[in-house]
Symmetry: C2
Subunit: 298 residues, 2 copies
Amino acid sequence: MTMDADLASAMLDGAALVEDALDALMPLHEGDERRLIEAMRYSTLGGGKRMRGFLVMETAKLFMVNATCAARVAASVEMLHAYSLIHDDLPAMDDDDLRRGKPSCHKAFDEATAILAGDALQTRAFEVLAEPDTHSDPEVRCELVMALGAASGARGMAGGQMIDMVSSDRELSAHLVTRLQALKTGRLIQYSAEAGAILGRAPTAQRHLLAAYGRDLGAAFQIADDILDAEGSDASLGKTAGKDAAQGKATMVAVLGIERARVQAEHLAQQAALHLEMFGPRADRLRALAAFTVARRS
Amino acid sequence: MTMDADLASAMLDGAALVEDALDALMPLHEGDERRLIEAMRYSTLGGGKRMRGFLVMETAKLFMVNATCAARVAASVEMLHAYSLIHDDLPAMDDDDLRRGKPSCHKAFDEATAILAGDALQTRAFEVLAEPDTHSDPEVRCELVMALGAASGARGMAGGQMIDMVSSDRELSAHLVTRLQALKTGRLIQYSAEAGAILGRAPTAQRHLLAAYGRDLGAAFQIADDILDAEGSDASLGKTAGKDAAQGKATMVAVLGIERARVQAEHLAQQAALHLEMFGPRADRLRALAAFTVARRS
């Protein structure tokens, strides 16, 4: 499937804004700590689909949020995501040498620098959210910090990674895999879709609808990712393919097989779009994103 | 030197409040992510001098801040500190098997769990600061997040750790070591002393005085720590002694020798106390802490 032309150009525009924000938020300076900032920039700039950042930008538009503010929140979630990839790729974790088509951080630098770069990216992600430039209302900034914390900590992404670690080579169930993925990747995608509503001080009901959209989108995205891992090549993915099966990872492909997993992903993507009904045509791009998520080839 | 009796009992009381807050802020629950929370609790509960937490509690008292709120901020900085120790102890970093008299996190659990536990402790530290229970004013909570971010990120603690890594076995100067230690340990101690002023919405001048106290106290503390490492035993320290010299670490002892380093630490501790003048006898405990910091034997 070719990407919807409007979605493609909006994703490129969004990615450019997020890239500029990331660049501005992590200035290189002199001093012996320069290498740390180089590693942080190496792992965040110039790569990735920026789906999480795009979700922030697009949901923020629904509430007429200033694009400069939204880009800071988008950059923050991309920093948080990049930190998780750096640490996931470490030898003690998934031990992956390739990320976004280039050497992973611990290969390009070294293991200690990679640990530290992930740490400092997480720090910066939270710091940026709390800064006055992100929103004039400190209550909104605190909500963003709390929501990102809940999405990425022990009850979210890190908890999901722990479940993933203890689940390798264990007997798998669809229920276990669903919960694992909801935490490991789903919660951060859900946060990204919710962030626009937080920034826009949206009514609770609308915030919940966007959260539900993000939850289903995240689930669909992860299954599609697992299918790509099972079918893809290193070159098309920009990361090592076929690793899930080799590592006995708990994925929906392992539980359901590729065909049933594909049906499940498509079902979730349609369900994601259904939550957007009340937003009318202004949410068409978010609908297109849901459709593209399960149809993409990389 | 025996610790001042009033200081000793206040530190015990403060540590108990911080311990209770840590326990409440990281509840164990069922589920496959339980092991992650166990590792987080293992590395934060039941150990350490809690100097950073004590600084928050004591400086908060100067501004009549509610002790429950202060204990949350104290617990947050202890989580941040614990995360940095877990990651510093990893094989790729300082490779230390002993911490606070027990196996370090990656020895008690495993390397991947330790990386993740450090990550999730950092997340929780920021999340707790942003929660309404920490302070009724969201502006204050944002200030706490920003100050902790600045103290612990690439321009603070993590930057200092990077400098430490690139400086091993390099020619050392007192200037380099001072900057390294100001970032690596100084900034978080400074933050801890400033946090009470932030919580108490203190006038800027008072906040700056407490920051200056924390800065000098932190520098004195680190030199004292380096002297203990050079002179101490594993048993008295609760961590591996003599590692700095063995690893060619940049310490003030290496640059100045033990005797001159001791004079420098004492000078800094006295200087720290001088910043407290305007607070009168209410700051006597903070003065006693400065004196104790350079006189302690563990």
